[in-house]
């Protein structure tokens, strides 16, 4: 079966996004029970691959970084992709050694590594790690899965992601939200609120989207985090906000500053804004 990634991140190659990727990996590790040396290997190798995209793929400029995580029985596969000028042409001169060490680290830590040119320019590093004794998740069939897209003008401020199944999203999304809320200079109070919203979205969002992935994009400004969740099924976005049946009233409504539902054809997008008005 051709499978869809369990986590797919589309983001800018800004250095601080490497931290976001590392936190997503930790969330994955918590879910399936990878830890210790295995987790450290994965985090270190993926960090090196991302750092290559940060430092070398766009010749110092900004561009797309895409990270995909595939969880299979006893293996974790991570793909790091850029659409820049490619890593290989850079392996020369001054940069050779610094880059060379990064690549040797990846090769030393990942039992299987594959470097590929991306059609239309760019490089893909595919790393497979063996993770015996981890908990299995349901496989997600590819079924027309498209990586979340990001318009060029949003690249600097926005992270787009798709994550599934829900037990994985439950660990990954709040961690990613924590990184983004920290970047928005939220206080630890509001960071925790943002994580609670992420929890609530994971609990209700899968049903509302009737999909195997929860898809969303998150934009960060000073003291503001704006989420766009969807596509969701028609009529479900409102329910997601109003009917978080927690016994304490609608959690999302309580914790967010603004809520908007945008409709497009048969689908809806739920737009939530959190601010830190300390």
């Amino acid at each position: 079966m051709v499978v869809a990634p369990n986590v797919c991140l589309t983001l800018s190659n800004q250095p601080e996004n490497v931290l976001l990727v590392r936190e997503a990996l930790s969330g994955m590790a918590d879910t399936v029970g990878v830890d210790g040396v295995e987790l450290n290997d994965i985090r270190t190798a993926v960090t090196e691959a991302c750092n290559n995209v940060v430092l070398h793929a766009y010749e110092g400029g900004e561009g797309l970084l895409q990270v995909e995580l595939y969880l299979a029985p006893a293996t974790v596969e991570v793909v790091v992709r850029d659409h820049g000028t490619g890593i290989k042409p850079h392996i020369r001169g001054e940069e050779e050694d610094a880059l060379g060490i990064g690549l040797s680290i990846i090769q030393a830590l990942a039992p299987r590594v594959e470097f590929k040119d991306v059609e239309g320019g760019g490089t893909e590093v595919r790393m497979e790690f063996s993770t015996p004794e981890t908990q299995e998740l349901d496989a997600l069939p590819r079924d027309g899965f498209e990586p979340p897209a990001l318009a060029e003008e949003d690249l600097a401020s926005t992270t787009a992601l798709a994550v599934g199944p829900s037990e994985l999203a439950h660990r990954v999304l709040p961690r990613v939200m924590c990184v983004l809320a920290a970047r928005a200079r939220f206080t630890t109070d509001r960071i925790s609120d943002a994580e609670l919203v992420a929890d609530a979205l994971v609990s209700g969002g899968f049903e509302a989207s009737s999909k195997q992935h929860l898809r969303m994009s998150v934009s960060v400004a000073a003291r503001e985090v704006a989420m766009r969740v969807g596509p969701l099924g028609g009529g479900t976005a409102g329910r997601l906000v109003a009917e978080t049946n927690d016994g304490v009233g609608p959690v999302i409504e309580k914790l967010t500053d603004e809520r908007r539902i945008a409709s497009e054809g048969a689908f809806e997008t739920l737009e939530l804004t959190l601010r830190d008005n300390r």
Binding site: R22, V54, G247, V248
Partner: protein, 264 residues
Amino acid sequence: MTVTEMAVSTATRQTRLVPGANDEQQLFARHQQGDMLAREELVRRFMPLARSLARRYDRSSEPFEDLLQVASLGLLKALDRFDPTMGHPFASFAVPTILGEMRRHFRDAGWSVHVPRGSQERALKVRDAQERLANLRGRAPTVNELAEYLELDQEEVIDALQAIQAYESLSLDAPRPGATDEATSYGDAMGEEDERYELVELDATVSAVLGRIPQRERQILRMRFVDDLTQTEIAARVGISQMQVSRLLRRSLDQLRALTDTKS
């Protein structure tokens, strides 16, 4: 990240400046014949590589000095095993050898079966700093403020925040220095008050479910979602840390969801 990169490029530049490939080959040749001076020079030259690998491999749990020691041991092993006549550059041989040494060290230390002590201690430090800064400023600190205050990097603070959420066993419920008995036994103190408040108008399902959540969690839920108090305000009233309020909120909301799911 950038710092690491800089460290590496400085390191690699240093290895190139004086020697040139020829010089290095000679050093390796002399080293193979047991020349200790050549060995010393090679260690000096490749130490920055070991240092950079120690820094890049794991950034979260062990003291850096310990890691560096293990990495240096790996470097010595790499020097002993390297065969210069094979024509490969030393670095490409040394990287996996040094990393292998560090991985073995962690495995031997039983690293995977417990939360590393370093991250536990850090989590507690972050929790305490959070409280101190909140008291000082009248509002909760940001991650940057915590990082600056504790001289940690952002990732270390974020990992600590996550650790506090995750590890019940971290004895986070233990009283903190300066906490009074009154504050720590908040559970009892809150008991009488609890019955006077009801959590909004609840339908039958939810009321039934709420009854199965411990009292102090119910209190905290009410303070956050009915009284609109911030987590820091709740922490002050209840006498626990904001981190703990955060953890209790998440946990009880999770429980409520699970309970309402089974009901419906």
